[in-house]
């Protein structure tokens, strides 16, 4: 895949808290943004060094939380400006491709029929379509190791549940609008759940080394119940875990 045309972002730096600035690079979600977001992330980490408390990149922005005992507001502003004025996009081909085995089944993916029906597809065809795309990891958030991925084929796009579930099982693979994600641990959530994986995203995040990083690609691979069980997967139906 050729890198898409790189459009230089119109950068804005906004005050967002006493000791945090928001670097806004884009106004829309686009895979092509990631090369710039990743480059800005790397450059800002290097420039702030130990004056950086936290740096949270997302789809179009980076939240820079700095130590205001080391830098004052205007120092931090000019450091960001100086760091990003000659930014060049990162190599998006450097992102890893992760193949994630998923057991797609109504017992662990209760919205399989609903999403299939909305798309006018059989469940088998829906699964094939969900597996037939390398999704970009746009951002990490919501829970440790939770990656927001997309974009899901327009036909599969399904709005969040009207009433979120109180508990969504660990490893649940879901869709919300044109995004897809895996729940790293048991949590409340309103995404449409299609199946379950046994990949331990939370354990990776807990070690400080997340499996997915922004700019990585994720491809889902349908496996059978037998394969899921052989891998140690938990087959307890969603209802019994909620």
């Amino acid at each position: 895949m050729k890198p898409s045309i790189q459009i230089r972002p119109k950068m804005r730096i906004e005050t967002t808290a006493m000791d945090a600035l928001m670097v806004r690079l884009f106004d829309t979600i686009d895979e092509a943004n990631m090369a710039w977001v990743i480059a800005a992330d790397q450059a800002l980490r290097a420039a702030f060094g130990n004056a950086l408390i936290d740096l949270v990149p997302s789809y179009t922005t980076l939240l820079v939380h700095y130590d205001c005992q080391q830098l004052n507001h205007s120092d931090a502003l000019s450091l960001i400006n100086k760091t990003l004025c000659n930014l060049t996009p990162a190599d998006t081909q450097a992102g890893e491709l992760h193949i994630i085995p998923v057991w797609y089944d109504e017992s662990v993916g209760p919205e399989l029929p609903l999403v299939a029906k909305r798309a006018g597809l059989s469940v088998e065809a829906l699964v094939e379509q969900h597996c037939n795309h390398d999704y970009c990891v746009f951002a990490l958030g919501f829970a440790p190791g939770y990656g927001f991925m997309g974009l899901v084929d327009e036909a599969l796009a399904t709005p969040r549940l009207k009433t979120p579930r109180r508990k969504v099982a660990t490893g649940s693979v879901g869709i919300a609008d044109r995004q897809t994600a895996i729940y790293p641990l048991l949590s409340p959530g309103g995404w449409n759940i299609l199946g379950r994986t046994n990949v331990p995203l939370f354990e990776y995040a807990k070690r400080g080394d997340p499996l997915f990083r922004p700019g990585d690609k994720v491809r889902f691979k349908a496996i059978s119940r037998a394969e899921f069980e052989a891998d140690g997967g938990n087959t307890t139906p969603m209802e019994e875990r909620s």
Partner: protein, 318 residues
């Protein structure tokens, strides 16, 4: 000669009764927001800091954050010096009232009980050298939603039968200087807010209302966020592309009622924001009981930083 034979079993404190919520906290988990891991840490970081100061501990030593009290009962197996700051939870040492913002000695068998909030919401109990708990991602902070930290590394609050142990023995016991009375918010308080860029998307009327009338602290309040109720705020944005959320962010969901995002907030989110409370304002808000009236008052980032740096010098000077 074997020293093992003479080594005593380490002494500790036993949880005889668990209150609604007592959590091991330190200053929080930093540098991990990009993993989707929340900050956590003591919600009233000022009281937390004083508790450790009273024992001569390092400022980031793990302590207990006790919410509401509610019967939490701790029994000591050994003589120990502790420090208690923050809310007045009607604490008693063997049925004798214990004043907050003080350090004191317990002898073996004595019981410390926290009953109900009389002023403020969260008390901090510091232990010599800090509480022992496994460190996860650089912190002992306990975050329930993420199942991180705490005694058993599952983010769970203290429960009956838990045994607290600590790192040091003879601390430098101090008393709070008279100049530093720790006041809990009463029925009304002022919360400085650094205005954010999305402020311009709110209607003029909403902006006037946001800063010129008191908001009521709702009972839907926890370590993740505190809801305020009052006039319905509206603006041109209903949602935004999810972006990083700083501590104290004043987000306004479609129902127009602000939610202040606190220590255990999600790392990214998609509601427009008025700005963010200063860390000192967050500490104060975390002590507000439901029904408290709060005024949001704008402050510049530079002024807020000056005030914050001033606050930090206090612990160096006393």
């Amino acid at each position: 000669m074997s020293q093992v034979a003479t080594r005593k079993a380490p002494a500790g404190m036993l949880v005889k009764q668990a209150g609604p919520l007592a959590l091991i906290q330190d200053a929080g988990r930093f540098g991990v927001g990009h993993l989707g891991v929340t900050q956590g840490g003591a919600a009233d970081w000022i009281s937390f800091r004083w508790a450790n100061w009273l024992l001569g501990n390092e400022p980031n030593s793990a302590a207990l954050e006790i919410v509401m009290g509610g019967g939490l009962s701790l029994e000591t197996e050994c003589e120990v010096h502790l420090a208690l700051t923050g809310a007045d939870l009607d604490a008693q040492l063997d049925d004798k009232p214990l004043a907050p913002n003080t350090s004191f000695t317990l002898t073996p068998g004595q019981r410390l009980v926290f009953r109900q909030p009389r002023q403020g919401l969260r008390a901090y109990l510091a232990f010599p050298g800090g509480l022992n708990a496994p460190e996860v991602l650089g912190s002992r902070a306990c975050t329930a939603r993420e199942q991180l930290g705490g005694l058993h590394e599952d983010g769970k609050p203290l429960k009956v039968g838990d045994r607290l142990t600590w790192q040091g023995d003879a601390p430098a016991v101090k008393q709070l200087p008279d100049s530093q009375a720790l006041r809990m918010p009463a029925t009304e308080c002022r919360l400085p807010v650094v205005l954010g860029s999305q402020i311009a998307t709110f209607s003029g009327r909403s902006l006037f209302q946001a800063f010129n009338q008191p908001w009521t602290v709702d009972n839907r309040a926890d370590r993740m966020g505190v809801r305020l109720t009052g006039p319905v705020l509206n603006g041109s944005l209903t949602g935004i592309i999810s972006e990083g959320i700083p501590l104290g962010a004043v987000q306004v969901p479609p129902d127009g009622q602000p939610i202040i995002l606190m220590n255990d907030r999600q790392t990214i989110g998609g509601y427009p924001r008025l700005g963010a409370l200063t860390p000192t304002a967050c500490a104060m808000l975390s002590q507000c009981l439901p029904g408290t009236k709060v005024w949001l008052t704008p402050v510049s980032a530079s002024q807020a930083q000056d005030d914050y740096r001033q606050q930090l010098t206090v612990w160096r000077e006393v």
